[in-house]
Amino acid sequence: MSQSLEAYLVLSVLLFGIGTFGFLAKRNAIAMLMSIELMLNAVNLAIIAFGAFTPELAAQASTIALFVIAVAAGEATVGLAIVIAIYRNHRTPLVDEYASMKE
């Protein structure tokens, strides 16, 4: 089981699905960002799994996954800063109350 690519890919898909549900269903903006981190983790797991089962790609997969981690770190920084900037204005982290452009 731990020696088959399918097991890791299915694990990655399950993690991605949990992240998708969290992103679509949560009301709190920070919880939505956490769900995005889960989804990025799932993608990284798939990349590393492909690399681990293909000897020519092992080093390349780690490199790509490292890039994904770095971009995810940048995304988390800017995303949380945006949430904090909106929080200053609206005094709530709940996304369905960010309706001032509609009202």
Binding site: M1, S2, Q3, L5, V10, V13, L14, L15, F16, I18, G19, T20, F21, G22, L24, A25, R27, A29, I30, A31, L33, M34, L38, N41, N44, I48, G51, A52, F53, T54, P55, A58, A59, S62, T63, A65, L66, F67, I69, A70, V71, A73, G74, E75, T77, V78, L80, A81, I82, I84, Y87, R88, N89, H90, R91, P93, L94, E97, Y98, E103
Partner: protein, 193 residues
Amino acid sequence: MGLPETVPYLDWRWDDLVFLALAGVMLGSALLVVLGRDIIRSALWLILSFAGLAGIYGLLGSPFMAISQVLVYIGAIAVLILFAVMITASKRGPARLVFQRQWWAGAIAAILLVGLMITTILLTEWPHNGQVYAADAREIALTLFEDYLFAFEVLGVLLLAAVIGGLYLAKRDDDMPQTNNPRQAMRDEEERA
């Protein structure tokens, strides 16, 4: 005296047992992140989920990725998220409604997506099977600093831009109005009354 070849009574390989345990920890804590009501607990479960994934990276023969995962995700991103949670935490405790009203639509979409991708994975004949190849740190370094050197430098500039942008966005503006949110203004009024 070493361990027996397989797990006693179950007849599994030890790797399989470790894989199942780590997968269970990772998926279980990810579910708790999404389903939990208290956002601080969600953030703490998120750390456990990151740690489980780091273990799986170790099982996949890339200790380099496991260490990066611990350093970047647990050490930096989780702490950043915890700080943001504490800055935006409401004094009233967790919101009554944690999910959007149309959460079931999101659930259906996620389940459809998972089902589709799992069918695709299981129906595909994967050419490589049965052997995990360890990624050598020296090979990764050569790939990163020779083949992808330009991308690496661009990544450095991107991170710098992200830091400056994050600082600028989160900077406090003193001449801002108290709140632009009419519902929140009403709530503030009620609290004062």
